[in-house]
Amino acid sequence: MTAVTAGLAAQLVLALLSSVLTFSVPARARSRVSGISCALISTAGAATGALALAGGRGSLTIPLALPVDPLTLSPDRLGGLFMLVASAVGILVSVYGISYAHGPSASRTSWAALAFFLVGMQLVPAAADAMSFLLMWEVMALASTALLLADHAHGRQVSSATVWYSAMSQLSFLLLLGGFTVLSAAAESTSFSAMRAVSSQSPTASIVFVILILGFGSKAGLVPLHVWLPRAHPEAPSHISAAMSAAMVKMGVYGALLVCIRLLPDGPAWWGVLLLILGGISAMYGILQAAVASDVKKLLAYSTTENVGLIFLGLGASMLLRSYDATAAADVAIIAALFLVVSHAAFKAPLFLGAGSILHATGERNLDRLGGLGRRMPWTGAAFGIASLGAAALPITSGFVAEWMLLQGLIHGARVDGELVSLPVSIAMPLAVAVIALTAGLALLTFVKAYGIAFLARPRSPAAASAHEVPALMRIAPLIGAVAILALGLLPGPVAVALASAIGPEAVMNVRTIGLAGVGLPSIGALLDPVGLLIAAALVAIPVLTIIVVTSKRHPQRVAKLVWGGGGERNNPRMQYTATSYAEPLLRVFDDVLQPSRDVQVTHVDESRYLVQRIKVEQRVSDRVETGLYRPVLSFADRIGVLARRLQNGSIHRYLGYSFAALLVVLVAVSL
């Protein structure tokens, strides 16, 4: 009975306990009690994950009555990492939920579902065999569906989002089921350790790889399987969307890693190319949609697709490089991918929680109607701002370190000590760098827009003008996330080493801590010390600040009534740029990709058609993947359904006829 085992058991027990509590305590105490108990579940998960990441071993075996191996939970270092990430997010979400959850999302069902959602999510990476993996996966999926359905009362979007979400997550479940079935059939065992025996070069392996990647990809939100993200995230209660986007999506990533480096390591080169392409497309498409989105939660959802895309890009690049024996660069790339996982969890949680606070304070999700929140909600503003910097991958945040490592891995990948690795690599790497660069640039624009429009300038609507800072717990949770972002960004060295240890001992060779806590990549001779950078910035800033202090004594700042608007009276906030107008140039540039539908109606004055009375411009950007790929399939499915209905018209005779026909068929079959 090791500590890890205890931790695993504790999570399960706490989950049951918390659901019992939820149903027993009275309504007014419910949120507090259940929230705290959920936080405890995640704390246990975090502790367990940390232990496992540090190398602690231990397994929890649950015997089944079925004639299959018992369910075994036994996290390795990698699993521990993901358990830690999921649990850390879980803690924030639970704490935030205590104050945030209200109405339907504070119901018994929701809180119980949250408990199971968290435990399922935290135990997926602990699974040591296909059965328990799929079980935990399904617990996670169903619980999240229930949570999403919480305020279904609020109209059709919620229910349609739920339909999309459950359809996609069940699809992914089926794919996983199929993939693992084939794999365990090949390995003649459901335990992951046995599955490693299957050769990665065999055709079976390739089939399994494709199926599983599709399954995990749809959970991770890769294009074209991302359609549920932009629907589910905006409609779910904000703390739930935070949990989904920051933690649950990562389980898809974990699955991909499980397949690529644990179950079927050293696969053929085209696996890497496939992941590279999927990731690149997801990154570009996601960030483009995010850049033109004006619903803040939709924007965040699409940016999740982008980040997952980058993660898969790193994974794919690492596999490609490894298959050409550029191991050093390969390790750097995959460590970078893991860093992206951690960093994305760190900044996406506060972003969604911040969006929740905005929603709570103004009732608005549409950036076009926000503004000036920075002064009205300083704490939320600070957290959201720092998280935006992280999402935009600017120093000294975690996102920057991750992207820096990824780029270093890529540019040093194409050559191993001066020798060209191979043609595909030398073409893939520049393309990958270009994709990352464009993605980073657009992410910059996206989050400058998100923060600038929402928190700066003047309120664009009465709701925003009357905004107020949110309760303490809802301020603290995002701020913790913000602190984490800065901590990861300032002290990346130890983190990177830990991540490398999750990959394997040989990966640890390629990364080390430099200076105070900077990260160094000895094998490719590059280093980054954010603290040093910060110190340098501080040093050069000192003279400037002294000048400011001196001059501002003699020349104090004067506050003028109006912003400069040509001296006119009419200078109202509606004149400011909105999120839509902010993204408009970009929309034009990428017109061919996004294909927005524009609709201009001009009404003339009755007297003369040369005088315009009113002009109405409507512009909508729809998800082309959805309209182009899913709609046809769905309509086809509808048609099948209509045909199927013909079979059942309720007449007894027809049913008797069916059974009679069936009987005849059986007889014929037997007689043959």
């Binding site: 920057f400 760098v433 050069v540």
Partner: protein, 315 residues
């Protein structure tokens, strides 16, 4: 910790703070001469800065702390560029080498600070400038990164100082088609990044045609001074980098006083010369339509991409 590099870094910062306004002055003067005017003299930017520092800044009620913080951020990011770039000497401070991606991201900090100033002002023009500015920055980044990637390949290191040193030792690298393609791309990218013609007209008064200027419309006094100084520093540092990549000769590789002095003189001459050429060229350029800018950027992107692949596959 190698102190010589540290000292050189300090020298670079101080020297470029002195040089940057002078560069702007020279460029304006060249332009004025070519337009048949007398020109305000090369010290005018200094006078402007001095004056702005002794004025009382004004800010609107609705604007936030960013109105004061962002200009400083921009200036600090530009100063950091002067620390990280190999301008006077090609040594690297041990823990903060001028790594290409770090440099680019430091550059972007300034870009973001400026964009936020534009948004914070809460005027129509501020938002417009900010939006256009960010779009250009977003589109330019791939070119920027790929160009520096191409330059980093021959040395197999992404540290600017090492790249410059290699070019100093083997000038053949400079003339190689790869580096030529990359330099052309890099220069176009820098023109776009620093808001020069043909992407942006630095001397315009028509708000509707503005990119960079439109974001400053609300700033005044010392805030404006920081923004102006920061932008000119950025231009000076980037020109200095280009100059050292094109003609690395004269840059100090040892920390002897003589070498440093030579380095100072060399970089000053290079930067001012390049600036003069730039200004002279700008006289004959018109600003392209905003929606032709992507075309320009795409062209430079194509060049930089070809530079990278070629450097792998030709040589």
């Amino acid at each position: 910790m190698n102190w010589s590099a540290l000292i050189i870094a300090v020298i670079q910062v101080v020297f470029f703070v002195l040089l940057a306004p002078l560069l702007i002055g020279v460029m304006r003067q060249v332009r004025a001469k070519l337009e048949g005017r007398v020109g305000a003299g090369i010290w005018q930017p200094w006078r402007d800065l001095r004056k702005l520092l002794v004025k009382d800044p004004v800010r609107a009620e609705d604007s936030s702390w960013l109105q004061r913080a962002a200009p400083v951020t921009l200036l600090v990011s530009s100063l950091l560029l002067c620390v990280l770039f190999p301008l006077v000497g090609a040594m690297t401070v041990t823990l903060i080498p001028g790594d290409l991606f770090v440099v680019v991201s430091v550059l972007l900090i300034g870009v973001v600070a400026l964009a936020l100033v534009g948004l914070d002002s809460g005027t129509a023009f501020g938002g417009m400038g900010s939006s256009r500015h960010m779009m250009v920055a977003a589109l330019v980044e791939p070119t920027l990164l790929l160009a520096v990637y191409a330059l980093s390949i021959p040395t197999n290191s992404s540290t600017l100082a090492i790249i410059v040193e290699t070019r100093l030792e083997t000038p053949a690298v400079i003339l190689s088609p790869v580096s030529m393609l990359a330099m052309v791309a890099l220069i176009i990218a820098i023109m776009a990044e620093t808001g020069r013609l043909p992407v942006d007209n630095p001397s315009t008064h028509l708000e509707v045609t503005m990119l960079h200027e439109a974001m400053l419309l609300e700033s005044s006094g010392r805030d404006l001074a920081w923004l102006e100084l920061g932008s000119s520093l950025k231009l000076a540092a980037l020109l200095g980098l280009v100059a050292n990549l094109l003609v690395p000769w004269g840059i100090a590789t040892t920390s002897s006083a003589l070498a440093v002095i030579i380095g100072l003189v060399a970089i000053a001459v290079k930067v001012l010369l390049l600036g003069g050429l730039l200004a002279a060229g700008e006289v004959f350029l018109a600003k392209v339509r905003l929606f032709r800018v992507p075309e320009l950027v795409a062209g430079s992107f194509a060049l930089s991409f070809l530079a990278v692949t070629a450097s792998y596959l030709i040589a």
